[in-house]
Symmetry: C2
Subunit: 307 residues, 2 copies
């Protein structure tokens, strides 16, 4: 096998009470990528469609993660990468993570899978760091493993696969505004009340238990973020209106996807997911803000070969 086409999915990180550790994988939103062995050594970006991104491998997220893996292997050939990008950079649903994951996943397949998924995550972290200026794996882990993942620690890198209830759907709205990462970060307090921290970890423990026990009601009761959302939601226009409308339409919970501006909602069943879509459309269509909405099952497979 000298060439492979893959689907690298969008993901939601910072899942409410699981800020900085919990993410999940989307099914119908993601990038396509082609990875190809070449006689020429090194990593080369051969084509990028969809968005304007750098072709220099060392300046491209997919290129940097590919280079990280390439340095760890000893081969007399190279790799060429084509990126067909559907996930808008800056949308808050893991655009850079999809790129970072796609290249290393594809290369690993062409090499006969010498690396496990945790090792692939470690390579992808280097690509992701180019985009986000810091090392984190909360979008990478769900893109690689699928389903819900908890990044227990970065050093050593320890990723846990949390079970995903069968009928769990996400409706995600992306208001087409730009939030500067620096601004989003600056909003976060360095210290938080101990009482709020306790509430947050009670909710996260509860959410992990709920995912293990298929308890949709408890998933809903646990999806609260008392630490970050009060700050960051200020940057997302009509966040509270969307949240209220989605909850009224039977969303189990609502939160900021990544560092925004996308807002995720979770619910039971595709019918409810589509009702939530309608409810969110009703809110945003009155505001003059352009927006996109995705309705998707939780993707338990993660990045995958499509050809």
């Amino acid at each position: 096998m000298n060439e492979i086409k893959i689907f690298s999915p969008a993901t939601v990180a910072n899942v409410a009470c699981g800020f900085d550790v919990l993410g999940f994988c989307l099914d119908s939103v993601g990038d396509d990528m082609v990875i190809r062995k070449t006689a020429k050594k090194g990593i080369h970006i051969a084509n990028i469609e969809g968005f304007d991104l750098p072709y220099e491998a060392e300046l491209n997220v997919a290129g940097v993660s590919a280079l990280a893996m390439y340095e760890a292997i000893d081969v007399d050939f190279g790799f060429e990468i084509e990126i067909y990008k559907n996930i808008k950079p800056g949308s808050g649903i893991g655009s850079s993570a999809a790129s970072a994951v796609g290249s290393v996943f594809g290369m690993n397949e062409l090499l006969g899978k010498p690396f496990n998924k945790t090792e692939l995550t470690a390579f992808a972290i280097e690509g992701e760091a180019l985009a986000s200026k810091c090392e984190h794996a909360d979008n990478l882990a769900p893109a690689l493993f699928g389903g819900f993942t908890l990044v227990k620690s970065l050093s050593p890198l320890k990723i846990l696969e949390i079970p995903t209830p069968n009928d769990l759907y996400a409706t995600i709205v992306h208001p087409q505004i730009e939030i500067k990462t620096s601004e989003s970060r600056a909003l976060l307090p360095k210290e938080v009340p101990l009482s709020d921290a306790i509430t947050q970890w009670a909710n996260l423990g509860s959410l992990v238990h709920a995912l293990h026990t298929n308890d949709y009601e408890l998933i809903g009761n646990s999806l609260n973020d008392v630490i970050v959302e009060p700050y960051r939601s200020q940057l997302i226009p009509y966040f509270n209106e969307v949240k209220q409308a989605a909850l009224k339409a039977n969303a189990l919970g609502v939160g900021i996807s990544g560092s925004g501006p996308s807002i995720f909602t979770l619910c039971k069943g595709s019918e409810t997911a589509n009702k939530i879509k309608q409810a969110i459309q009703d809110v945003y269509s009155k505001t003059g803000i352009d927006f996109e909405i995705h309705v998707t099952k939780i993707n338990t497979e993660g990045v995958k070969i499509i050809e």
Copy 2:
């Protein structure tokens, strides 16, 4: 049935990363209590052995929780309570919780179980509040439900039963010193670094997952408390020495039980639990401090009828 004898177990609360929410139940340490229907209405403490505690029901933890339940029922008889206390008050392994739980569990049995365990916890909270001057359920819940429990929230009261791996044992040392609750509380910071809070909830999420998946190694890797232990361990002489000795003897993790002074360790198997006991004895026997050590399986049943 007019009389019942019960065993009300000791418990460990504040389980490392699960400060204020996670507890577990002990098997071989606990109080015996006799609850008896009486023609005379009201709640009466008929006998207390083991420790010097008040006989006035409204000043006694078991009495106050019993009164809370008694006010919620309409009967033409009363209850008499005998308390055979083995758990030393102030030891940090849920002495008051055992009393608070025992009376309401026993009365509920004699009444034909009109209340579920969460409702019993709510009554017991009132008794526990007499001892600890605040409402909390982190010792009550494991005493009533057995195993590991996560108190997701107090209002509404929501208690989750987390699975307990079969071969999980605890070794607990009680150095016979007094820690004033007020001093122990005053040590806690009102605010904590967000980065530490994230580490704590990553560990708690991971611990809940590890308990669900019988992953002893991950239980060990998750049993870290970066928030409270650095403060409160200062009040417990030789805490760090005990911790190191226990870990060296293959403890999965070590932490402060409740607000101390007891120290709990968890491990796989009774043989290791006894080795840990020896290792802790070796530390404390050189210090001149009196101490007691308990080795116990995790009790998955909780409070129970013995006669």
